[in-house]
Symmetry: C2
Subunit: 324 residues, 2 copies
Amino acid sequence: MTDNHKIQALCAGRPVAIVGAGLVGAGWAIVFARAGLNVTMFDANPEITRQAVPLIEGQLAGLQRHGLIDEDPATVLARITPVATLAEAVEGVAYVQESVLERVEVKRQLMVDLDALASPDMVVGSSTSGIPGSAFALGLSISPRVLIAHPVNPPYLVPVVELVPSPETAPGTVSFADALMRAVGQTVVHVRKEVEGFVLNRLQAVLLREAWALAQEGVASCEDIDKTIRDGLGWRWSFMGPFETIDLNAPGGVADYAVRLGPLYQRIADSRGHETPWDPALIRDVEAQRREHLPQSDLEARRAWRDEHLMAFAANRRARDPQA
Amino acid sequence: MTDNHKIQALCAGRPVAIVGAGLVGAGWAIVFARAGLNVTMFDANPEITRQAVPLIEGQLAGLQRHGLIDEDPATVLARITPVATLAEAVEGVAYVQESVLERVEVKRQLMVDLDALASPDMVVGSSTSGIPGSAFALGLSISPRVLIAHPVNPPYLVPVVELVPSPETAPGTVSFADALMRAVGQTVVHVRKEVEGFVLNRLQAVLLREAWALAQEGVASCEDIDKTIRDGLGWRWSFMGPFETIDLNAPGGVADYAVRLGPLYQRIADSRGHETPWDPALIRDVEAQRREHLPQSDLEARRAWRDEHLMAFAANRRARDPQA
């Protein structure tokens, strides 16, 4: 899954830094430490850094149980060093993964601070899911070495990462991040334009939007809409993307499919106006349907169920498809 | 997975009929025969009925290899009887699953023929993925006993089935089909209105449409768009629907999520106009990208890979979640 020699060569034996040690940052720490890199971990709130350590321990134990790490959890954990200041965190590192609060002024201040501290070749990846680099990473000496590296949660299980350069990001920054991410076991998606939601959240958004609109119109219950994905469409999508799916679904491949089914999809598109379905009444209705299905008090237990399922899924994918 | 006593009671010991024995019809024959029902199989083209038998044999062998049938393939196959006429096919059956050509006049003629042949309580489910019952199943004595039962291919692996009544379908027909489908191991989605594409294809359509539009705008390559699903979003969607996914993704559940992320999704929706992306130039471009990735001559082998993956996935899901 990962190649330690390659990783060490890429980073010239230097550590990487995690800045922002919440759920996302802690997840990234596991990705890098599991791959053999030394990791410094910093959060402006020391309490969050403290909480991250047992969180990581618990996740590593789960990974071991599912055969998803080859080393002892303690060995992996020992590579992660919580530190008290940003300066200590980034001292001599090859790469910084920032996962601080999703607010543009917080991200901007961090870039200014990193600009003052960075070594001349340090690269910075931002975990933001929605703020383009143009909004917080321009006009600094470090700007050519900053890009978005947007993960899915948790990144040590779900491998995809979207790399999105700003107009000032240097091509070499993109190729370094691409090589590093692949080397630590992630799957890289190159987003070539700073569109709202990048690629992954745009795809999620259109599906969610249609799901909410169908619930609003009473076409099906939320639970039944969920079934069409989890007992239907989601099966193929767990190992094939939408283009490959339709490429295999017509005798002559994707162009054949587009000619055969394009008109149906156009009619479906035409039948949906530009609604704004997420209104308060609908939100209350969907909430009520979900709570009937899963009481509020069971949410936490169901999240643990989800995480177990994801680990089992990852183990199964890895067994069938070692490069995944 | 299935309960033979319940199934036999539901059908009062009578067989079911498959009308239209192409890929979809043959798939349905496996669903019913695997559940212990006797099945008659008819196609207006006798050559297609003949081809269906070895096709079913091959699929049953695959199901056995993956531990997805409990009986010997020959035992299951022996329950399926190809017949030469529609009258023989529907004689004394409790249920007819029609999977004839996806053309409204062909479906209408079949309904007229079934109307003349049907016993007074025979129920008819149509596999159509796009034609509402209103377009071909109204105004006959049999109309109250006809509904859409739209599967995903192949139905013996992917369990979801959409039940869509026409305005003339009797409530008892829906409850019979619901009970029968669950009893043979399918997951039932009740579609309450005859909307274009029902639920499943509407959800697929919006995602495909956005994928094509992103390819058209050069935001990402087709292969990278595929990765965001198969190495990202598709992992959760293989065991949770979109509502459950977001219900678990905010501390307070789905309403909390809607308030937090509704505005982002609204911005994403607003940023997409009403394009018609499936134009010939784009189709050529996507086709070229796919063929670079997978040559035309490898399509068939890749379909076999997909089917193996789906079987392995089904076996894994069944092991983790026996009622699925």
